[in-house]
């Protein structure tokens, strides 16, 4: 198996990153390499991953190797696509583990938004990480008639209770 020094030299990892991985102990270090090496992670990738994984381990009262050998993570690593796609999938998977309640809220909001049946050309965006006071609604139109039509469709979509449910999830973690 590739050792940390060899991987660090190959990917030109910073000393601080190497020290951080080494501080995880033999098992933690091995688990990191099992994930990082096949994906050819560079220093930035590795630091982002460590931030997430260490926080998940803190939240779950476990260690880094247990997080990285979690079935969900293994599933993300087996995904299709090239190196960048798999790194992106891994990061998304770790983020869901890092923010379980926020991720669940975003899923619920996405489902409700889908049910609202917003017309084409209309986007309803919530603040990033649901942290903020206002939604942004964007209506794109290529003509006055299209604008009128889309705004009318938007108004009909807002008549239902979908938008109330979205606000309740976003602002009060309800629903």
């Amino acid at each position: 198996m590739l050792d940390l020094d060899a991987y660090a030299a190959e990917r030109r990892l910073r000393d601080a990153t190497v020290a951080r991985v080494r501080a995880l102990g033999a098992d933690g270090c091995a688990a990191v390499l099992e994930v990082a090496a096949p994906l050819g992670m560079n220093d930035n990738h590795l630091r982002d991953m460590l931030d997430l994984v260490e926080d998940i381990a803190a939240r779950r009262c476990t260690d880094v190797s247990a997080v990285l050998r979690d079935a969900t993570v293994a599933g993300a690593l087996r995904g299709e696509g090239g190196r960048s796609d798999r790194i992106r999938a891994l990061k998304a998977c770790l983020r869901r583990l890092r923010y379980p309640q926020l991720s669940a809220a975003l899923d619920r909001i996405a489902a409700r938004r889908q049910e609202m049946g917003l017309p084409a050309g209309v986007a309803l965006d919530l603040p990033e990480n649901l942290e903020g006071d206002e939604v942004t609604v964007t209506v794109r139109a290529a003509s006055p008639a299209q604008l009128r039509s889309r705004v009318a469709s938007l108004a009909r979509a807002l008549d239902g209770d979908g938008i109330d449910a979205i606000f309740a999830i976003w602002q009060e973690a309800e629903g």
């Binding site: 803190a58 939240r59 942290e131 009060e172 309800e174």
Partner: protein, 359 residues
């Protein structure tokens, strides 16, 4: 745990100040060293900076507006006075790890009289205004009291004033020096509280049971008390943990003697997160909570969950202590509206909280 300095560094020229004399007398076994301005060697680490006590003059003003009054946040018009810098305790989430990273030595300022003159000047200039002034911003208000005896200066000073309330905010049980003083309704002793599992990462502090026992003692001595659930730390089982904590508070303390409650969700700057990660201290709660960046650059638990936590705690507190003023620290008007069903002006809020100090 009562702090005892491993050594005491005294700046040349302040040896005979009241604080220096009192400290030497109370810590007779600790080695005392002298230093001139600019000669103090930097500590090897942030943790080491907390083991020795530096006694020196404070340069510049003592009194400041509380930094929590950031633009865009509801503010309670609180003033802070810094008679010390850093803290012998080592809470995993403490902002001083980042804020004082370049100047971390645990320090008690010796020219306290200058600070009191400055406060007197402000109070005298606005005789009809009520001030709330706290010493617990860059330090724990009472953790150094067994060493410096500072409260013996502060309590009589504020007891003699009609337009100010001093808040001594602490995670200690160091109240011995307060008990034979007469606060005259002008001093509130407050405790930052967290459930035991979170308090376990408040290294060196008194246990929650010890803090509540100290609260009972100061109550018996004529002080009002206050409680800060700050930082509220989101973790699995937070609701039950905070419910148990509040049950303990209301069992230990007569609610009529509670001057105020505050609630504040854990907030961390990216710099603080880096500092916490870089240290060897276990910081499960500080790092594990679902924190996301907000408009002011600080990370907090994402808004919906934060509002849910606040609402739950507000409901519990209002049910048990309906007359105690309750406020959120460092929160936006939007979160206030959702959690408290109101957005007071800064002035209204300040007056309301100050009224809580009256018997």
């Amino acid at each position: 745990m009562t702090f005892r300095p491993a050594e005491i560094w005294v700046e040349r020229g302040v040896e005979e100040s009241r604080v220096a004399r009192e400290t030497r007398s109370r810590c007779s076994g600790a080695p005392v060293r002298s230093f001139a301005d600019g000669e103090l060697p930097p500590p090897a680490s942030f943790a080491e900076a907390k083991t020795a006590l530096v006694l020196r003059r404070h340069r510049g003003g003592f009194l400041q507006h509380c930094p929590a009054g950031t633009a865009g946040m509801v503010c309670c018009n609180y003033l802070v006075v810094n008679f010390a810098s850093n803290c012998p305790y080592d809470c995993s989430y403490c902002f001083l790890q980042d804020y004082l990273a370049d100047n971390p030595r645990l320090t008690a300022f010796t020219n306290v009289e200058d600070g009191l003159d400055e406060i007197a000047g402000v109070l005298d200039m606005h005789p009809h205004k009520q001030f709330r002034i706290g010493t617990g911003e860059l330090a724990d208000s009472l953790a150094l009291d067994p060493v410096t005896g500072l409260s013996r200066l502060l309590v009589p000073f504020f007891a003699a004033r009609d337009n100010a309330v001093l808040e001594l905010k602490t995670k200690s049980a160091c109240v011995a020096d307060l008990l034979d003083l007469e606060p005259r309704g002008r001093v509130v002793v407050s405790w930052s509280l967290n459930p035991d599992s979170v308090a376990a990462e408040e290294y060196g502090t008194a246990s929650i049971a010890e803090r509540l026992s100290a609260a009972s003692r100061v109550l018996a001595a004529g002080y009002k008390v206050a409680f800060h659930l700050d930082p509220i730390v989101e973790h699995e089982g937070w609701q039950e943990a905070y419910d148990r904590l509040l049950d303990d508070v209301f069992e230990a303390v007569d609610v009529a003697a509670i001057a105020w409650f505050s609630l504040g969700a854990l907030r961390m700057t990216p710099g603080l997160q880096r500092a916490v990660r870089a240290r060897a201290l276990p910081a499960r709660h500080a790092l594990g909570a679902e924190l996301v960046p907000g408009a002011d650059g600080k990370m907090r638990v994402w808004r919906g969950l934060r509002v849910r936590m606040y609402r739950h705690l507000v409901e519990r507190i209002r049910a048990a202590a309906p007359r105690a003023p309750l406020y959120l620290c460092m929160e936006t008007p939007g979160v206030w509206q959702k959690a408290m069903r109101e957005v007071p002006t800064d002035r209204e809020l300040g007056i309301r909280i100050a009224a809580g100090a009256r018997w």
